[in-house]
């Protein structure tokens, strides 16, 4: 890590108003801490840090045409009351030791976007992430609103994104995201906080890259809140993918579903770490986490580790993680119908990921994922 810390010298020493004064001290402390070591076991924190500090903030950020009912504000234009809201949002149940790079991104970006969705939207809200260090984004969904968010990126090179979503009481957000560019180093942190009876659906489809690390933290704070996270990942030869989901059940009678299928090909590394944390008092929690992985070649490396931390008795919690090869019985079945082995394997792979392809971008996704499967 020593090299990484010297890389920090290249970071601006200006702490913007919307960030805690102690951000700098925090970075130094957390980069060296045991938390970072544990959470960055399968991706190099030093290399990621190096890549980030060597990168400018994004210049071509443009939220484009926003649907009616959406208001935006730059952090730098916020009045003092709003600044306080921003600071609180960013710090809310934030585990800086787990995400030490968040402050690095904040310091490089120097500014951020506050996006307020006041009511249900007729068209999706779209984030098309450019390359470089993206401005941190806070998205607030008003109580009762029904919103669809598409988060896509076509950028190459180094990229970092911080997205912080707050879903109001009884509101519903369907979030479809994908990353299909392999020619990049990408880190991002997605944090979602849900109020009473709020619902969140994530459909995330990604491929490996030179470096791709996606952290996701879901905070089910409100009673009756539900989160459903579905996703697929494909790592091709020479690529890396490391995804971490932390789901925290805090309110009463909250529900979470995680379903992720990954395929690793060639010499690649594919990691999923799913953690369910049920806080004391989160009675009536119903949590389920399923992660299945296919390793198509000897040299394909898969790491999967479900983690459970449960501090309440009245909970239902199921989890499963498997790493396997293609099912021989299924291959024989397809073969017996005249389907030759290479096509049979392809069909089984398609089936495996199709089980987790869903959401508003599903059709466009399927083609794109198949392209990566065949490459």
């Amino acid at each position: 890590m020593g090299d990484g810390v010297t890389a920090l010298d290249r970071l601006s020493s200006d702490v913007p108003d919307w960030l805690d004064r102690d951000a700098w001290a925090r970075i130094k402390l957390n980069l060296e801490g045991p938390g970072a070591r544990e959470h960055w076991k399968h991706s190099s924190l030093a290399k990621t840090l190096e890549a980030l500090v060597g990168t400018e903030r994004s210049v071509d950020e443009d939220l484009g045409e926003l649907p009616n009912g959406v208001e935006t504000l730059r952090f730098s234009e916020a009045d003092s009351a709003t600044l306080e809201v921003i600071r609180q949002r960013l710090a809310h149940r934030m585990d800086w030791s787990r995400y030490p790079l968040a402050d690095v991104v904040n310091l490089i970006a120097q500014d951020g976007w506050m996006i307020r969705v006041r009511r249900s939207l007729d068209t999706p809200l779209i984030i098309d992430a450019p390359s470089g260090i993206n401005s941190p984004v806070i998205i607030e969904i008003a109580p009762g609103a029904q919103v669809e968010l598409h988060e896509v990126s076509h950028a190459t090179g180094v990229q970092a994104r911080l997205i912080n979503i707050v879903i109001g009481r009884d509101a519903k957000l369907v979030h479809a995201r994908h990353d299909f560019v392999s020619d990049c180093e990408h880190w991002q942190l997605l944090r979602v906080t849900l109020d009473d009876n709020a619902s969140y659906q994530l459909h995330s489809h990604v491929v490996g890259a030179r470096l791709r690390r996606i952290d996701c933290q879901i905070l089910l704070e409100g009673n009756g809140a539900t989160a459903e996270l579905t996703g697929t990942g494909i790592t091709n030869d020479g690529t890396h993918l490391d995804q971490r989901h932390v789901v925290e059940h805090i309110g009463r009678a909250t529900t979470s579903r995680n379903k992720l299928h990954n395929i690793a090909k060639g010499k690649s590394r594919c990691t999923f770490n799913g953690r369910i944390h049920i806080h004391a008092g989160a009675s009536g929690t119903d949590a389920d986490l399923q992660n299945k992985n296919l390793a198509l070649h000897e040299s394909s490396e898969i790491n999967t580790k479900p983690e459970l931390e449960i501090y309440d008795d009245d909970v239902k919690c199921a989890h499963g993680a498997t790493v396997g090869q293609l099912d021989e019985h299924a291959l024989f079945y397809l073969g017996s119908r005249g389907i030759e082995p290479s096509l049979a394997k392809r069909l089984l792979c398609i089936g495996f990921i199709t089980e987790c392809i869903d959401g508003p971008l599903a059709d466009e996704l399927r083609g794109e994922l198949l392209r990566h499967l065949d490459s």
Partner: protein, 248 residues
Amino acid sequence: MSLLQVDDLHVTVDGKLILKGLTLTIEAGEVHAIMGPNGSGKSTLANVLAGRPGFEITSGTVNFEGVDLTPLEPHQRAHAGMFLAFQYPIEIPGVSNMEFLKAANDSQRAAAGLEARSAVEFMKSVRTLAESLDLNPDFLKRGVNEGFSGGERKRNEILQMLMLEPKLAVLDETDSGLDIDALQTVANGINRYHNSGNAVLLITHYQRLLNYVVPDQVHVLADGRILESGDRRLAEKLEAEGYAWVTA
């Protein structure tokens, strides 16, 4: 030249000898039925014919239209005209039944030097087949055998047989688990398929199917061998008296 000629076949599975000198000849145009106690090796024979990995032929021969089947992979056997309706059809989640059927049909046609049928034309013909087997067309959109009832899976096997038009259809307990109407539907499907150029090998525990699909020969497979062969009256005798008199 016989359609299928099996001679003194010995097969081991996981080192255990299951088929112990099985001999069977099937001519084009015939219907054969194999009956026999649980665990006697009926599915083993079916799987060996289809080329399932893990079934080792230690001695004996299997010829299909005079060609040695043993070096062929499962898909090559299918191209040669072999079909197995599985006793336990496999679930393939995420691959729609229609997609699967199209892949099978395209592969089969490509092997025969024929062009793939257009998607529209193909789907129409599959829907017609599905209706003839009392299968709700909706099931074509679902994952292969995913969540299908036992009877639906069996009818799906028959649908594949009708679509692929093999030379030899080996039906491994396709009649098990069918209600009375479904049995009739499946039997109609088999009779529709069967003609003077192909053959059917029915593996069954019940004589009832044989009332609808009339066999030319009935065999008793026990302890890895065919111990008794006869006409359809043999099936009736077995139904009435069990296997003890054969195996004694």
